[in-house]
């Protein structure tokens, strides 16, 4: 697979998210502002745990799980994204078992060190927060999310910028993919262009981009554009949306103040921790 094919695949993947957001599911029907607030509360909760917590974090998995199932989101694209993402957290986390060898206890013959627990905790946090963000956009769509942002008084120019960027992302990425394909056909021995070639290649795309911006501006002016982009997307919060936020926030607080898995284990097996 050439690089150009890779870009095309990534784009079709991105397009999938749009289709998912358009589906009529219980989660997609929730007000975008409610989902935004709840997801923010979720992320803060996940981040607020101490660095050695692993088991206490598990009940929070209910949040992405409910989005995944009730939002009717296929696991494939989400899992694929999570597997591909930036290795930074994993890289820093991988140092933990080496740096911190203080024993915490044993798990059968296996000695659990603080570093090991910390690494597991970083991976779990990573999975929770990344899946929550991906599922938010897969069940909401960028248009609705932008409307919610505007409602929260995010500067108009930034909201419009976000929508414009998203609109032209596909167009320009396809243009870059075409340039790369053209390059690959002309120089089969160099899969990725050298820096000077990449410079003028991207330069050509940049020139076409600037010309495109001019054409878009002319088209917008023809339609009466006066410098102000008006967003019209009525948002109506229902009682169920308020209940959605309240229930989830209460659940996050419950998870945070009590170690649910430990309580469950004690209750069922009757062994004190």
């Amino acid at each position: 697979m050439t690089r150009a094919d890779g870009i095309t695949a990534a784009l079709s993947h991105l397009g999938r998210f749009d289709e998912l957001a358009g589906a009529n599911t219980p989660i997609a029907r929730v007000d975008p502002r409610a989902k935004l607030v709840t997801t923010a509360a979720f992320l803060v909760t996940v981040a607020s745990y101490g660095r050695l917590e692993v088991i206490a974090l598990l009940p929070l998995g209910a949040y992405p799980l409910v989005f995944l199932v009730l939002g009717n989101v296929p696991l494939g694209p989400i899992a694929w994204r999570m597997a591909l993402v930036s290795p930074f957290a994993v890289l820093v986390g991988a140092f933990e078992p080496v740096l911190d060898r203080q024993p915490l206890g044993s798990l059968g013959p296996l000695v659990v060190t603080a570093g090991g627990a910390s690494f597991a905790s970083i991976l779990l946090r990573f999975a929770l927060s990344v899946s929550a963000a991906l599922l938010l956009v897969a069940t909401t769509g960028l248009d609705a999310a932008a409307a919610a942002l505007a409602w929260f008084r995010v500067p108009r120019v930034l909201v419009v910028q976000l929508l414009f960027l998203y609109r032209y992302l596909f167009v320009l990425s396809e243009e870059v993919a075409r340039s790369l394909r053209a390059h690959a056909l002309r120089s089969p021995h160099h899969p990725s262009p050298r820096i000077r070639v990449a410079g003028s290649m991207l330069g050509q795309v940049l020139l076409r981009t600037l010309e495109r911006a001019q054409r878009i501006h002319v088209a917008m002016s023809c339609r009466g554009f006066d410098g102000e982009v008006r967003l019209r997307r009525p948002l109506q919060a229902r009682p169920s949306d308020i209940a959605f936020v309240a229930c989830w926030c209460a659940y996050f607080v419950l998870c945070r103040v009590s170690n649910l898995p430990r309580l469950l284990g004690t209750a069922v097996f009757g062994v004190a921790g």
């Binding site: 690089r3 990534a10 998210f17 992320l43 981040a47 607020s48 101490g50 050695l52 088991i55 206490a56 598990l58 009940p59 009730l70 930036s86 930074f88 820093v92 140092f95 933990e96 740096l99 915490l104 206890g105 659990v112 910390s118 946090r125 929550a132 963000a133 991906l134 956009v137 960028l142 999310a145 500067p155 120019v157 930034l158 419009v160 910028q161 976000l162 960027l165 032209y168 320009l172 990425s173 160099h190 262009p193 820096i195 410079g199 991207l202 330069g203 940049l206 020139l207 600037l210 495109r212 501006h217 917008m220 410098g227 982009v229 103040v257 170690n259 898995p261 430990r262 309580l263 097996f269």
Partner: protein, 347 residues
């Protein structure tokens, strides 16, 4: 490189969100003061361009590795710093949402590291003075490369500081700096070279858009003021918040750890700890027994290892298994409910 949600603490994330929101609001206001209706589509399309350009990996001569464009300095040169910051913010937001680069909590950090530092520090303090009003090709090239190097060095330094202050990883300052700074020096030089090629290309093909033309010049003194303001605001906000968070030892975290089941409430007095003490800890200067403590005073951490641990106790583990099983049941139940209601909803 993106800061990750998994490594950031709520207080650091909040400080960086405040700093970033402030810088974005100031930039938005600056743009409103100089209305230009050509700018809306130009910013949008250039954002998409940066996004698309990041997909191009080019070969780095002599090393066998490859790099790609980040775009902060390029955007500042083409659009001026305030518009560039908003474009970078939108690019990073879309990356966080659709590609899970970084994350939403760390988005404030990422916009600051890759956007604010490039647009409001590297551009006005490095690029603008070197390039001057009517730069020659060589001057333009030197200014662009240096600005990119400075932007990336500052960006990776910010990642190191944010990670260490968040105390989610026990890596020491020295090791972390040694890992991050040299690699970002290389990335910065490459970023600078590709940006230079692009800027020179545009200058030859569309001279009216290149630096030395309208917007870039207008915004220079203004950008310097905002850059200084943003830096001061960040230091003040981060300092104040860290102080606030540490004066009640690790605030939320500590009090919740006490309230939680299974962690015995110990009678130690709360020890107020200032930002310097936290930096000291983060850098690994105090003895390593510190690393196991979760915001509790150091002396309890050393002797308390059997009771701190949530992993070993049987009920904890069994409970974890039960939680996962419950999760599976929840999913299956919800799926069954969905399936039974599906005929009602349109396909």
């Amino acid at each position: 490189m993106h800061m990750s949600d998994a490594l950031v603490s709520p207080s650091i994330a909040a400080s960086m969100w405040v700093a970033t929101a402030g810088a974005s609001a100031l930039s938005a206001r600056a743009l409103r003061r100089r209305p230009d209706d050509r700018r809306v589509p130009l910013m949008g399309v250039l954002g998409a361009f940066v996004f698309a350009a990041q997909l191009v990996n080019f070969a780095i001569p002599g090393t066998g590795s490859s790099g790609h464009l980040c775009g902060g300095v390029l955007l500042a040169i083409l659009l001026g710093p305030s518009a560039a910051l908003l474009v970078m913010a939108s690019v990073l937001t879309v990356q966080a949402l659709f590609f899970a680069d970084g994350g939403l909590l760390a988005l404030g950090c990422n916009i600051f590291n890759l956007g604010v530092l490039a647009c409001f520090v590297a551009y006005p303090f490095v690029f603008a003075p070197i390039a001057g009003a009517r730069p020659s090709r060589a001057r333009l090239a030197v200014a662009t490369v240096l600005a990119s190097v400075v932007a990336l060095q500052l960006g990776s330094l910010a990642i190191v500081v944010e990670t260490l202050l968040s105390r989610r990883a026990s890596i020491s300052l020295g090791t972390f700096l040694l890992l991050m700074q040299p690699i970002h020096l290389a990335i910065g030089v490459i970023e600078g070279l590709i940006t230079t090629f692009l800027v020179l290309f545009i200058r030859d093909a569309r001279p009216e858009l290149a630096p030395g033309s309208r917007e870039a010049v207008i915004s220079k003194p203004w950008a310097r003021r905002v850059g200084t303001g943003a830096l001061i605001a960040t230091v003040v906000v981060a300092g104040a918040l860290s102080w606030f968070a540490s004066s009640a030892p690790d605030g939320l975290e500590w009090s919740l750890a006490r309230a939680s089941v299974g962690v015995p409430a110990e009678g130690e007095p709360e020890v107020p700890r200032g930002i310097l003490a936290r930096i000291g800890e983060a850098t690994g200067l105090p003895p390593s027994e510190e690393s196991g403590n979760r915001g509790r005073p150091a002396d309890t951490a050393g002797r308390a290892w059997p009771q701190v641990d949530p992993l070993v106790s049987f009920s904890g583990l069994a409970g974890a298994g039960l939680t996962l099983a419950l999760g599976g049941l929840l999913a299956a139940g919800l799926r069954a409910v969905r399936r039974s209601t599906r005929p009602a909803s349109p396909p």
